[in-house]
């Protein structure tokens, strides 16, 4: 019975199947919003309001010819998409949505899981780098170099801004941080600056405009993904969707008070709050133009990092005041 439960947990809900459906829904939501911001219709044809379009895209890519470049590192080249998807799906399990009890730490919710989640969110960046590098295509190589260059910019501000609410909540456990902010809703306002910084950093992590530099199509064609096609590309695209859900979930947990209310209400909370975060991500995407990679690094270290430190200072001061 316990095995069956675990299997259902991993494969159906909240595991792979749910993740697949929800992340493709988020892609649809993102695309539709982006299109409406640009005075376009967005997907309309497949399914009601084009809801099935991302799924159709996924299966179409699955059926396409799969080419591995002659000079690429074949093992690595083929394994990376699966690895990437596995990593972000694992990260999803750590979000405190249904699978935790506050008193009893478990495998999916333990002290320090926020660090593990951040670590698991850093890994996709390396997957992208390796994917680009092992393709041995010129455009991929340039894209891979850009992935790493960008990482030096946004990673530190992201960590600082996501960890400062944890400092205020006095816990390294996501479930406890969320519970703390549910008890003290006013303290959410203290982290407003951090939320902004984290939004920008997550946008950079997800490589969306203005940070879509590693796969800037007008400059370096497909960037890191130039050589990828067929199933592997489909998995990479799914991975990016899941990464978006996980990142939005992380921000919602840390900054917006998590997802209380057990399996059903918790799920509704999860959907509303992640869509709320994705709305802002799409807004940024629609209203900016792509910047240069050197501008990302200087912008991060001139503005984001000092502001993140300021946020940490504010948190420490507030913590001193309330205790």
């Amino acid at each position: 019975m316990a095995t069956l439960k675990t299997l259902i947990y991993l494969v159906i809900y909240p595991g792979l199947l749910f993740l697949f459906i929800y992340s493709t829904f988020c892609e649809w939501y993102d695309r539709k919003l982006y299109a409406r911001f640009q005075n376009r219709m967005g997907p309309t044809h497949t399914g009601r309001w084009g809801l099935l379009q991302p799924i159709a895209d996924f299966f179409k890519l699955m059926a396409k010819e799969d080419i591995v470049p002659e000079r690429a590192d074949k093992g690595m080249f083929s394994a990376l998409p699966a690895f990437g998807l596995a990593i972000v799906s694992t990260a999803m399990l750590l979000l405190p949505v249904w699978n935790y009890s506050l008193d009893r730490p478990s495998l999916t919710s333990f002290n320090g899981d926020i660090i593990v989640l951040l670590y698991l969110l850093s890994l996709p960046t390396f997957i992208f780098f390796l994917a680009g590098w092992s393709s041995t295509n010129l455009f991929s190589t340039v894209g891979a170099a850009r992935v790493l260059t960008m990482l030096f910019g946004y990673e530190v501000p992201l960590f600082l801004s996501v960890l400062s609410p944890a400092v205020l909540a006095n816990s390294w456990r996501l479930a406890e941080i969320a519970a703390f902010y549910r008890q003290h809703p006013l303290l959410i306002l203290v982290n407003l600056l951090g939320f902004l910084i984290a939004l920008i950093c997550v946008q950079a992590k997800l490589e969306r405009t203005p940070f879509d530099i590693p796969h800037a199509e007008t400059e370096i064609v497909g960037g890191t993904f130039t050589e990828y096609s067929g199933k592997k590309l489909a998995l990479f695209r799914l991975m990016q969707d899941v990464e978006m859900v996980v990142a939005a979930g992380l921000l919602a947990t840390v900054f917006l008070g998590g997802f209380p209310g057990g399996p059903l209400v918790g799920l509704i909370n999860f959907v509303i709050k992640t869509l709320f975060v994705i709305f802002f991500l799409t807004l940024i995407r629609a209203t900016t133009s792509r910047i240069r990679v050197d501008q990302v690094v200087s912008f991060s270290w001139k503005y984001l990092a000092p502001l993140a430190v300021l946020q940490l200072l504010i948190v420490i001061l507030v913590k001193g005041l309330i205790s």
Binding site: F37, Q38, N39, R40, A63, K64, E65, D66, L138, F139, V142, A145, T209, P210, D212, I213, A216, E217, T218, E219, I220, V221, G230, A286, T287, T288, S289, R290, I291, R292, V293, D294, Q295
Partner: protein, 400 residues
């Protein structure tokens, strides 16, 4: 570490085939080389086999954006050869279409610049509003791209009151929208960060390298054929030559936006002062032996047609110098010491129309790098020799 990045002949940043060989060190461009000839269509040769009238429609097809520029340039030259004076009303309508074309070309360019900079929202908005001016052109000529309105000795279609009113009404909307783009394009921080200081071309270089059009004017040189050597009715229309002194891509965008407003003023003036009368005079079938150079300020810069007649109903020689060709030398200068990320922007900033500028093909031996120019029949023989003993490749197979 230096390595070469091939941009083109097929690349998402390029709408038409051209080869840019870029030598980079990291992200910085050290050298650039432009290779032309992927889109040669033999238009000049074809023109020698067609009559004066047929050639209007041929020259129209040199470019899909500035089609009217090429016909007007050609028609003006032929009118000089035939010693014709088109009636005032015809010239007014010709100028009106020319300015509408400038508006649609500049709006298109703004969108392309937005897209190259990764600002797709800007692209979508400008192209939506470009439809307004396309609709106007359709109302006037029946076509959106190749208007076919010029003829030797005037224009082919007249304007009526309803059309004039429709254009004036649409112009108001365009003015309002352009005002918005002016603010957006020059104040949106991430967009300006991408454009400012990119692709620097000093005033001296711009003159020395014979840059034309908005590229030249953005370097602070107020040179415009419409002012310097007025054709059609530009000598009676009040307008200003727009310049910028930043010498970069932002300057080129600003010049184009300023020109949009000048064009709106010109269109309004033309419509309000439209003289009555005939729109065309009858043209003879032959032209006396002579030669002529015709200049025209296309949206992209100075367009030059050289026409030579030999007394028959066909030209002996038609030479087209499209504005893009004049800007290539300056582009190389602009690309050097820039970032890879700026290549599409710098290249797009000259508003390249690649197939317009294709006047010759060079055959390059891939192994030795030797270049030579060969006539068409020799080229055919070479290709037959190469492919004679080769097996035909099988079609791609369905993967499942």
């Amino acid at each position: 570490m230096r390595f070469q990045i091939p941009i083109g002949p097929q690349h998402p940043a390029l709408k038409e085939p051209i080869g840019l060989r870029i030598t980079v060190e990291g992200e910085i461009i050290r050298d650039a080389d432009i290779r032309l000839g992927y889109n040669h269509r033999g238009i000049e040769k074809l023109a020698e086999q067609k009559t004066w009238i047929q050639n209007i429609y041929l020259t129209e097809r040199i470019c899909g954006i500035c089609s009217h520029s090429h016909t007007t340039c050609y028609v003006q030259g032929v009118e000089k050869l035939m010693e014709l004076q088109p009636p005032k009303r015809g010239l007014y309508i010709r100028t009106l279409v020319a300015e509408l074309e400038r508006v649609h070309s500049h709006l298109l360019w703004l969108g392309v610049a937005g897209h190259e900079a990764g600002f797709d929202s800007f692209f979508m908005y400008t192209w939506r509003d470009r439809e307004i001016v396309m609709d106007i052109l359709e109302r006037i000529s029946g076509n959106r791209v190749h208007y076919g309105i010029n003829t030797i000795g005037g224009v082919r279609r007249d304007l009526d009151e309803l059309q004039v009113k429709y254009i004036l009404d649409s112009l108001e909307i365009l003015r309002k929208r352009s005002e918005y783009y002016k603010n957006l394009g020059t104040t949106e921080p991430s967009f300006v960060a991408r454009l400012a200081g990119v692709g620097y071309l000093s005033k001296e270089d711009a003159i020395a390298l014979c840059a034309v059009g908005p590229t030249l004017r953005a370097s602070g040189v107020p040179m415009d054929v419409r002012k310097d050597d007025p054709y059609a009715v530009y000598d009676e229309v009040p307008f200003e030559v727009c310049t910028a002194d930043t010498c970069d891509v932002l300057g080129r965008a600003v010049v184009r936006i300023k020109e949009l407003f000048q064009s709106y003023n010109i269109i309004e003036y033309l419509l309000k002062n439209l003289p009555a009368g005939e729109i065309a005079v009858k043209a003879p079938r032959r032209a006396k032996p002579n030669e002529v150079v015709s200049r025209y300020e296309a949206p992209r810069g100075e367009n030059i047609h050289y026409i030579k007649s030999n007394g028959t109903d066909k030209p002996e020689r038609l030479k087209v110098r499209a504005p893009t060709l004049a800007n290539y030398a300056a582009t190389i200068k602009m690309l050097k010491n820039g970032f890879i990320a700026d290549v599409p922007l710098i290249f797009a900033a000259i508003d390249p129309c690649i197939c317009c500028a294709e006047r010759a093909v060079a055959i390059v031996d891939a192994r030795t790098g030797q270049e030579k120019v060969v006539p068409m029949n020799i080229l055919k023989q070479i290709s037959q020799k190469i492919s004679a003993n080769k097996e035909r490749k099988r079609e791609a197979e369905w993967p499942l």
